[in-house]
């Protein structure tokens, strides 16, 4: 492991901490009633999210799903603007109109979530095609949960991306369940990269909790796409900490394994210590800094004003106002 990788790993560890800390703060504020609507978090999926964030450029794009708050921040949107959006405040990245499920930011290539799971799989085709037609070498990443793989749009998207050789990176986040339903009980295979192979798309499965493995696979995929070879499919095996609203539903041994033995943060921390990339004190300092920053964002969100009422009727049509009564 050379000089550069060392710095990179620490930077990525820091980003993983940002994701977890952000999500924990959110869960806390949600319980307090400060975050309206519904809340899904990416706790447990920090490694793959960080690997993706570090593999695409600002000139690339991505379609985040419902567990990607962290990715939005890593992509470059100021964290307080994401936090404020989730609080439904005027200072949010969409002025509070989008919330957790619809926080877009074109300035960093964030095309926003579509809460009809899987629907943006076909929208991404257009971004890839548009950029291709414009002669850009940009890549567009699309997040797809294991559950979301049931949608017909999966087929329409993969087929057309393959046929037109579009610059699309399919990031399939297989955390084993769609809400309560195990992936293998609702799909012909629990290994979703097998579906993708049928489209003659390079398709791999990787341990999404292993930061370096996820990073390497994503880097390779992006290089392939950027070279003009068309789409690439990466299945990240992972596990989400969030259970059901009613509580935990998964086997205790599975829960223990993922929280205690196969937690991406702990795994990366151990790697750093084992390889002597940094010491305990250094990591603790990173963690404390991150936590403090995130509390700043929470405070910013809390203190921000509610959206201007004008926003309720703004931007329905381009160029026309809607009736206000």
């Amino acid at each position: 492991m050379g000089e550069i990788e060392t710095g990179k790993i620490l930077a990525m560890y820091r980003d993983m901490c940002i994701i977890r800390s952000f999500e924990f703060a959110l869960e806390r504020e949600f319980k307090k009633g400060n975050v309206p609507g519904m809340l899904h978090t990416g706790v447990g999926q920090e490694a793959l999210l960080t690997a993706i964030a570090h593999s695409i450029r600002k000139s690339d794009g991505f379609f985040p799903d419902h567990r990607c708050h962290g990715l939005l921040v890593l992509a470059g949107t100021p964290g307080e603007k994401i936090m404020a959006e989730l609080f439904g405040k005027a200072t949010g990245v969409c002025s509070g109109k989008g919330g957790s499920l619809h926080s877009a930011d074109p300035s960093v290539g964030n095309f926003g979530d579509n809460a009809v799971e899987g629907s943006f799989m076909v929208t991404a085709l257009g971004v890839g095609l548009g950029w291709k037609m414009q002669g850009k070498d940009s890549v567009v990443a699309v997040m797809v949960g294991d559950g979301t793989s049931g949608r017909g749009e999966w087929h329409e998207s993969l087929n057309l991306a393959a046929t037109w050789k579009l610059p699309i990176l399919y990031c399939c986040v297989n955390n084993g369940y769609a809400i309560s339903t195990p992936v293998g009980e609702s799909h012909a295979t629990a290994d979703l990269y097998e579906f993708a192979k049928a489209y003659k798309i390079p398709s791999v499965q990787v341990d999404g909790n292993d930061l370096l493995a996820a990073y390497e696979a994503t880097q390779k995929a992006v290089a392939h796409i950027r070279a003009g070879n068309g789409p690439y499919f990466v299945e990240y095996k992972t596990w989400r900490w969030q259970g059901l609203f009613s509580g935990e539903f998964r086997p205790p041994e599975e829960v223990r394994y993922y929280k205690e033995e196969h937690d991406p943060i702990q795994m990366t921390r151990k790697l750093i210590l084992d390889k002597n990339i940094a010491d305990e004190a250094h990591l603790t300092k990173i963690e404390q800094e991150v936590n403090a920053r995130i509390e700043d964002w929470v405070n910013f969100a809390m203190q921000s004003p509610l959206p201007n009422p004008e926003k309720a009727t703004a931007n329905v049509y381009v160029g026309w106002e809607v009736e206000k009564a």
Binding site: G37, G98, V116, I179, T313, K324
Partner: protein, 326 residues
């Protein structure tokens, strides 16, 4: 009699229907062990097993397609689409298949399905978890839309819908899931295509449904204290809705306010207003007033959401308008 929430009343209806007829089965996302996102299918899996309580992938087109096909061979499927907003993804199966099978094949097949789904705004669900969708389906011949406003009606209408031979879109408003009332524990049905006069009055007729019906009742209460007597009608079936009950009421009151949670342009509210205006023309003392959502998607922030949705005050002010000379 037992105090039940609407969730419990619906759940009770499913238990009764499944016990009574083994051809009734349930399918949808997480309807099995988990009992559905809102708990409506709770306990069914344990009682009737995985064969009749089927968890599906996120394949909404396949969920409705499966329901229609099964109905074509005599089954009585009850499909759950988790949020009504997602009906867009199975719109084809509903509009071009479920609603047409009986007609285009000359009566040789029936599409006796019930599609249960959770609709409605008011909780910060944002643009994809809050919509009132009846307007998308009003112009679809062959389709029936049922929408209860109370636990009692919910149970009776769901049983009636499962027993009915038509394809039925059954709308469950999220704001009503937790309201409680006395509900009989035995089986009963509430008639489809029959509106209910929820409050009698003589000055103005307010036509509403689901959550809006409750707002209308509240408004009527306030109006009463001003000396205005409002009759409040709960449509219960939205398509085809009960012209007779509404027109008879407007013929008496001479004034009408139509309340609907969906946007004003082209939705259910337009249909009701048009029919009243055309059919009760000579009775109307002032133009029909509509209280509906503004022509916008549903914003996430609660304060913005509130601005675009109907509320009690808007209903009261619409009633006031009908009482001014036109």
């Amino acid at each position: 009699m037992k105090k039940m929430t609407m969730v419990q009343a619906l759940n009770d209806a499913l238990h009764i229907a499944m016990e009574e007829n083994e051809r009734v089965f349930v399918l949808g996302e997480d309807v099995g062990k988990m009992g559905g996102d809102f708990g409506v299918t709770r306990g069914l899996y344990e009682k009737f097993g995985a064969e009749r309580v089927r968890d599906t992938p996120l394949s909404e087109a396949a969920i409705i397609g499966t329901a229609v096909g099964a109905a074509m061979v005599g089954m009585r499927p009850v499909a759950e689409i988790m949020f009504a907003d997602f009906l867009t993804t199975c719109y084809d199966q509903i509009v071009n298949n479920a609603a047409k099978v009986h007609y285009m094949f000359d009566g040789q097949f029936k599409s006796s399905i019930v599609i249960r789904t959770a609709c409605g705004a008011g909780f910060g669900g944002g643009p994809h978890h809050s919509q009132s969708v009846e307007g998308w389906f009003m112009n679809v011949p062959g389709l029936v839309i049922v929408a209860p406003s109370t636990p009692y009606d919910a149970k009776g209408l769901l049983i009636a819908s499962i027993e009915n031979d038509n394809p039925i879109l059954f709308l469950e408003h999220k704001a009503l899931y937790r309201i409680k009332e006395d509900v009989p524990e035995e089986k009963y049905t509430v008639p489809i295509r029959k509106a209910k006069i929820g409050r009698e009055g003589k000055d103005v007729t307010i036509v509403a449904s689901m959550w809006m019906y409750h707002l209308a009742l509240n408004a009527a209460e306030d109006l009463a204290s001003e000396g205005i007597s409002a009759e409040v009608i709960d449509l219960r079936t939205l398509r085809p809705w009960d012209h007779e009950t509404v027109l008879e009421s407007v013929a008496r009151t001479g004034r009408a306010v139509v309340v609907n949670e969906a946007p004003k342009i082209g939705g259910l509210s337009a249909d009701i207003s048009a029919v009243i205006s055309e059919e009760a023309f000579s009775f109307l003392k002032s133009p029909v007033q509509r209280v509906a959502a503004l022509d916008t998607p549903i914003p996430f922030s609660l304060i913005l959401e509130k601005l675009i949705l109907p509320d009690k005050e808007k209903i009261i002010s619409a009633v006031h308008k009908t009482l001014k000379k036109a």
